[in-house]
């Protein structure tokens, strides 16, 4: 893999850009952080010799040795719990949960330990750690390899939650997460691992957690999404453009905290918003975004806030493609908002 073979410029600022895939950018970020800071360790199920089931950690054990990059027993509670204890004792753990669908067994460690130790101790003990995990659908994995559980974590105060959709953000957000003071749940939209390609500077840079990005400017309507749905959101915007409609496309990148200013400024301008995610509709994170938009921009809205989300069913195997909001469904929601 290029990403692990390149010699990242660990100290200096960002170097020249190369085209990497999303997963290469993730690998490169870990590589550079391991090189930068001796306190950084990478672990999880099968992340060592195997390099992770998606190969996100490929080459890292070879390069940094099994002391810094290692396999754990098959227990997500062990993985998350170990990360908490290591972070409390001064390390900077990057822990992998093999699939976001398997955060369940580590759930209490995340919500009771990682999320609350700073608060409950009055700041005496803190757990700056990163939990990386592939999430989302589109890989014909059925419900245990396709779910989007991010809303559970956005509903848990004390956690920061991010999900990049571009290689550039993937690298920059992961670095920011490793260096920050909080537990960060870092979701990786697995269907973009190799599908998303983009310019990534060699060497060091971070992307601030809490800032969204405008992917496309437009004046007629704002499409807001994050993670795996972004390419389809952009495709929908292109289709709309062909019909003369200019959609602004925002990639939240960070869910907790999320970039209210960016979203509100855009919707104030366009008057219409369509929220796109693939998590089940009820109690999903976009409910909060919708709520804030209607609360803050009630008088400026030209149509109800639209939403395209996952259906409130377990993620199905055969209907994988139908379940996911694709460009057509997103475009249709935009049309409904425009024609309201």
């Amino acid at each position: 893999m290029t990403a692990t073979q390149s010699k990242p410029n660990a100290k200096g600022a960002a170097g020249e850009a190369r085209t990497l895939t999303l997963i290469q950018a993730i690998t490169e970020a870990m590589h550079e952080e391991l090189a930068r800071d001796e306190r950084v360790v990478v672990f999880g199920e099968d992340v060592g010799a195997r390099g992770g089931v998606f190969l996100a950690t490929a080459g890292l054990q070879e390069q940094f040795g099994p002391r810094r990059v290692f396999d754990t027993p098959l227990s997500e509670a062990s993985v998350v719990g170990a990360a908490v204890g290591m972070a409390v004792r001064g390390l900077r753990p990057i822990a992998e949960i093999q699939f976001a669908d398997y955060m369940g067994p580590g759930f209490d460690q995340i919500i009771s330990q990682a999320a609350k130790i700073r608060y409950r101790s009055g700041g005496q003990f803190t757990a700056p750690l990163v939990i990386r995990t592939p999430s989302g659908g589109g890989v014909k994995g059925g419900h245990h390899h396709s779910q989007s559980p991010e809303s559970y974590f956005t509903h848990t105060p004390g956690l920061k939650v991010v999900m990049p959709s571009t290689p550039y953000d993937a690298k920059g957000l992961l670095k920011a997460a490793v260096r920050g003071g909080d537990p960060v749940i870092y979701f990786e939209p697995k269907r973009l691992y190799r599908a998303a390609k983009g310019e990534v500077p060699a060497g060091d840079y971070t992307v601030e957690i809490g800032k969204g990005a405008v992917r496309r400017e437009g004046s007629d309507l704002t499409i807001i999404g994050y993670g795996g749905v972004m390419p389809d959101a952009e495709k929908a915007a292109q289709a709309l453009a062909a019909e003369g409609v200019q959609a602004e496309v925002i990639d939240l990148r960070s869910l907790v905290p999320w970039d209210r200013d960016l979203v509100l400024t855009s919707v104030a301008k366009t008057g219409r918003a369509v929220l796109v995610s693939e998590a089940p509709r009820t109690s999903n994170f976009m409910g909060e975004v919708a709520y804030v938009i209607q609360e803050e921009l009630f008088d400026q809205l030209l149509a109800p806030v639209g939403q395209v989300a996952g259906f409130d069913t377990p993620y199905p195997y055969v209907q994988d493609k139908v379940y996911l909001p694709g460009a057509n469904r997103i475009a249709a929601a935009c049309v409904r908002a425009l024609n309201y």
């Binding site: 195997r50 098959l74 409609v245 409130d312 069913t313 209907q319 057509n328 049309v335």
Partner: protein, 374 residues
């Protein structure tokens, strides 16, 4: 009486096919031949399904090759369709030997309309009510607490059923494994826990999985006996499992049996090439040499009733035909349509799901009419 907590796996038949202990009378050449045939059937199923996978007709597959003695031996040690089984995702040899029809297994792998599970789960996650073979969840060890509960219900109801719960070696590290084992122990529930210890959890060797000497000793933590068996010796597997199943049925509470075996193939299609990173060719070869099917062949040789080359070839081609026919039959039923997505979420269909279904119906109609007008 079979002893628990032995330091070495119990064996009846050596690798060269010679009995080490007296061969129990029930293992007549006919019985052994039947076991042999069942194991070969499972092995060939593996091969055919891997081919279907390569052809892109299914999307996931987890081979059990090398583990047939454990799974078929287990199926032959319990009461089919009477006892309950909470299996894990590598248990198709078990399913076949329990009488789950080939068509049902193939349909599940293909996600066709003939799938008993209605195309809801990824391939190789079977479920068959008729055989009390409970639908498999991918979430490792999550079947263990429910298996304990299933057994508690059996005890509550006063029926003479037992519950079987299978899992891999890696699964024993999960918290839920502990929770289920301890619950079954505390409740004295009639549950037979079978660890199919193939020594690897994807790329993680048992030695990195736990510092305990072996798996069965963990039974001590739950106040139940732990047995250690050569999982490639179907006679040993059946001798131990049928005695233990009998003890459990008699009301003596749960037990753990560790069957030491090996996964000679890749973990799944996902690591077909990757395994060279984590284990050596020599190790795989050493275990290929301990093949459970070959051991029965040798035993039959030793007993003077060898399997002829023709019999073997015929058996293999019969299985291939069986799979091919099942594939044709399954594919002929077609793929479930989108509506299937909204069914079986609940016993009824609440209003929000009806609305979401209506939304999708409208969308599908538009699409059929020629795409969305953006």
């Amino acid at each position: 009486m079979i002893q628990p907590f032995t330091s070495d796996p119990l064996q009846w038949v050596a690798e060269d096919g010679r009995p080490i202990r007296e061969l129990p009378a029930r293992f007549t050449p006919d019985v052994l031949r039947d076991l042999y045939r069942e194991m070969v059937r499972a092995r060939e199923f593996d091969k055919k399904l891997v081919t279907l996978l390569r052809q892109g007709r299914t999307t996931f597959y987890a081979q059990a090759s090398g583990m047939e003695a454990t799974q078929v031996g287990l199926a032959r040690s319990i009461r089919v369709g009477h006892d309950w089984v909470w299996p894990y995702y590598r248990d198709h040899a078990l399913a076949l030997a329990l009488g789950v029809p080939m068509l049902d297994l193939v349909s599940q792998c293909l996600g066709t309309n003939s799938d008993l599970c209605r195309g809801r789960q990824m391939p190789h996650h079977f479920g068959a009510a008729r055989q009390n073979f409970v639908s498999i969840s991918s979430s490792i060890a999550s079947q263990v607490p429910p298996a304990a509960g299933n057994a508690m219900a059996q005890k509550y109801l006063g029926v003479d059923e037992i519950t079987v719960c299978t899992f891999g070696d890696g699964a024993t590290s999960e918290g839920d494994w502990h929770a289920g084992m301890n619950m079954a122990g505390a409740a004295g529930a009639p549950c037979l826990f079978v660890c199919e210890n193939n020594q690897w959890a994807i790329s993680t060797n048992l030695r990195a999985q736990t510092a305990s000497e072996n798996i069965h000793i963990k039974a001590r933590a739950y106040g139940m006996p732990g047995y250690y068996v050569d999982g490639n010796d179907i006679v040993a597997v059946m001798e131990v499992l049928s005695q233990v199943a009998g003890d459990i049925r008699a009301g003596n509470g749960p037990a753990l049996v560790e069957c030491l075996t090996y996964r000679v193939g890749s973990h799944s299609n996902a690591d077909a090439d990757a395994e060279k990173n984590y284990r050596t060719r020599e190790e795989v070869n050493a275990w290929l040499a301990r093949d459970p099917i070959v051991r029965v062949e040798r035993l039959l040789d030793h007993l003077g009733t060898p399997v002829s080359a023709e019999e073997r070839a015929e058996l293999i081609s019969a299985t291939h035909r069986e799979v091919d026919e099942a594939v044709l039959k399954a594919e002929a039923t077609g793929q479930p349509d989108w509506q299937i997505m909204f069914e079986d979420v609940y016993v009824d269909t609440p209003v929000h799901l009806r609305e979401q279904a209506a939304f999708l119906r409208a969308e599908q109609t538009v699409l059929t009419d020629g795409g969305v007008q953006a």
